[in-house]
Symmetry: C2
Subunit: 338 residues, 2 copies
């Protein structure tokens, strides 16, 4: 009998999330029923959106239920199948959650997708050629719609999403400026990812200092913004926008713990005729094939660089996730199980 270890969400955070919000349990795997597939997870994906799911507040997705397996993307291998659509050995990505195995029914087939690992590593299908990559692609190409020569600013620039945004914008002929925390990340963003500049927000803690640093890094102003953070970060960027700038709002991680993050000067939306638009990539599935095609081709050709922070073993998941919320990861955060 195979044992499946699972992380349950057992309480909701008051303020900051903590490891006490989760509990690790062991359960035997159930016998596979007709039209079901058993997937062994090789990697768990840990992403900032999960913090929002931990709250019991109205949002775009239902809250993560208490005492159930924590939600999340997974990449793995089919180890048993009673479905005609999958065979043992198939490499797949899905939404298996924080556990070692998942059982997926044919009726849920949309959530399980076979992937090609001959040219692209399995883990990359959770990152640069997965949800984070498509998120970057969507916000940049569908909301910012950058023109050659424009300046695009990306917050959380060393992260799984931000790094892709910047490289896609560079490929479109833009000046690209990142915002990241600390000299190591900024150096990586500039030297490895090829951004034109990267502003260290830890060295510019208040609005005035951050806006001044952005002014220096963006001498022609800012035309496009890919916003992952919100708060002072967004306030500073807005101060440097040009007329008709577009701000794609992908995340506001600075407010995920419930801290109020008012926008200091919304009249800039009028003064600079800004377009500020929020989006959720899972609502635009019709564009995923197009996005994945571009991203996959770039990765296979070595034109899209990325970095992974890998934690090892199912027990490490909560700590690694809390690290993502604190910016302790460097690139895409994964948990390797196999």
């Amino acid at each position: 009998m195979t044992i499946n270890r699972q992380w349950l969400l057992v309480s909701r955070p008051q303020g900051e999330a903590s490891v006490d919000n989760f509990r690790l349990i062991e359960r035997p795997l159930p016998e596979l029923q007709d039209a079901q597939v058993l997937v062994r997870h090789h990697y768990l994906s840990l992403d900032p959106y999960m913090r929002g799911r931990m709250n019991d507040a109205k949002s775009y997705a239902a809250p993560q239920p208490l005492n159930e397996v924590m939600v999340g993307g997974t990449a793995g291998e089919v180890v048993a199948s009673r479905s005609a659509a999958f065979a043992p050995g198939d490499k797949v990505v899905g939404m298996g959650g924080w556990q070692e195995y998942s059982v997926v029914a044919d009726a849920q087939r949309g959530v399980l997708r076979k992937v090609d690992t001959s040219r692209i590593p399995l883990a990359a299908h959770l990152g640069v050629v997965g949800m984070p990559g498509v998120t970057a692609w969507y916000g940049l190409t569908q909301i910012i719609v950058p023109k050659q020569g424009e300046t695009v600013v990306v917050s959380a620039a060393s992260g799984a999403v931000g790094g892709v945004v910047g490289q896609l914008a560079k490929a479109r002929g833009c000046r690209v400026v990142g915002i990241a925390g600390g000299p190591e990340k900024c150096s990586y963003v500039e030297r490895e990812l090829g951004f034109d500049a990267c502003v260290d927000y830890k060295a510019h803690r208040d609005l005035k200092a951050l806006a001044a640093a952005l002014k220096a890094a963006c001498p022609a102003g800012i035309d496009g913004v890919f916003e992952n953070v919100g708060g002072v970060n967004l306030d500073a960027v807005m101060l440097r926008t040009n007329a008709f700038a577009r701000i794609a709002v992908c995340g506001m991680i600075s407010g995920y713990d419930g801290t109020p993050i008012p926008m200091a000067n919304p009249s800039l939306i009028l003064i600079n005729r800004l377009k500020v638009q929020g989006f959720i990539v899972s609502e635009h599935m019709e564009l995923w094939p197009q996005a994945l095609k571009e991203l996959g081709a770039m990765v296979a050709a070595g034109q899209l660089k990325y970095r992974e922070s890998v934690a090892h073993g199912i027990a490490a998941a909560p700590e690694a996730f809390l690290g993502v919320l604190k910016g302790r990861n460097f690139g895409k955060q994964l948990v390797k199980l196999v």
Copy 2:
């Protein structure tokens, strides 16, 4: 020799604007030069945007220079012409400013436009079939893009812009809810303009009360917002938005005096996948003919209702303008000179 009375801006407001910021002077009209037109103003238009021009701050338009004639739209009649393009008796609208006459050169011809007063009164070309009407049309049709059955909320609903927004949205099959100050304006918005409901912001002074009133008036939530006010008004409306709502930001009059008006909860942009977009109608001149055609046809057919507050004589301009900023006007504010 004809005397032209003019209002100059002589100082910039510290906080609220006052009559002391303006000075009335008399100057003889200069002799008309070749390729010039002399226009006698019948009406001055007074609009909220003028408050922004009084400040010496970066904005979408250059500040109004000190000791020059205050900027503004005008409607009048050509009384002398040394231009082939205009003849005495022509009814025209232009940007003549706060004065009784203006001299317009052929080189500035774009700012002077002949209008048809056989079916549409001259003053309406400054309001419902002029800049305010086109502003309403642009924000509604180009940013909100309302679908039949959706709910559209309009602030400053009894004003020159808001009243048109609501009637155009009703004509497109929307549920339309206004926000206005006081029972008299709300009654007019509902009974005369045909809005489905109107919320009195003076009876709901804080965020919680205003959001509750909007919830009652918008049982299916809010899909489109035409924002003229900002501040608590915008915060309350955002709380009631549906997924994918569009907010056209036309004005933020609550912040024109320099009071900071932070947006309380910008994370709603992400949670509800909002599009928030600012615009200035004078940057979209290519769409004015289409807008004026629809607006003119509706006015001529009696399908578009509007109301005017008329002050009399050039001396009355500053007081009437300050009234606009306080919401003392009822509909389009004009100064009648002839």
